[in-house]
Symmetry: C2
Subunit: 114 residues, 2 copies
DNA sequence: TTGTTGGTTCACCATGTGGCGAACTATATA
DNA sequence: TATATAGTTCGCCACATGGTGAACCAACAA
């Protein structure tokens, strides 16, 4: 469970940068080589590779090299993990606000996922 | 839209730390003063206040002071904003994989929780 | 074989982050 | 008034982050 925390740390950290979010967004539409991925961004390859490395460390993407070109693809399950934490939190919140709703509607036992 | 990016930056950055996630989680169960919030964590008040400051800058929490006690509460809409970006991304991904699924199943409108 | 292209590595730099202790302010409370 | 309590501010530190340019390696292409 401690490890879970570390995973979320690196996940959210990876997403806390517009370049990296753009890369994820781009990769969700299909795999791509490093060079092509880097083209929209006004930064050197070394800097861009660091972003890729952060993404890869977080597990959000994984890459493989064929010949001299490295191809990147996204791991959608990692993305779902981040979303999972958030919707879990929302469930807590909704568990609370639902009591107001229940007071009016009186149905649906809250059943928050611990 | 550029500002949107900055908002997501600080949102995800705020969430990229176990202490801050724990605070958010705690606050989703109800507002609390700084001291009480800080108790579970083994760090000084100054360090903890920096975390609160990061959370407040991101808009995830807001605070108000009455007398000498500052009360913190969460802003669930900010949390929803982060979740929103993620589910938006998932929609892209699912738009792709759904074509495979539809090819086999061709039923059940996915009903994602917006 | 000689370029060119795609990636990689390295040293370096400015800035940000996350923690500390110490000193301080302001509000309750005794 | 005196004292404890809740926050705040400040200076400091170690380390991570995000960028640079330059040199370099490995695979195609001419």
């Amino acid at each position: 469970m401690v490890n879970q925390q570390a995973a979320l740390d690196s996940l959210f950290h990876a997403l806390a940068d517009p370049t990296r979010r753009a890369v994820v967004s781009r990769l969700l539409k299909g795999a791509a080589p490093v060079k092509q991925l880097s083209e929209p961004f006004e930064m050197g390859l070394p800097a861009f590779l660091k972003h890729l490395s952060v993404l890869e460390m977080s597990g959000l993407i994984h890459t493989e090299k064929h010949g001299r070109v490295r191809t990147c693809r996204v791991d959608a399950e990692r993305l779902a993990a981040a979303e999972g934490w958030l919707s879990q939190q929302r469930a807590i919140w909704q568990g609370r606000t639902d009591r107001l709703a229940d007071f009016v509607e009186s149905q649906t036992p809250p059943e928050q996922n611990a």
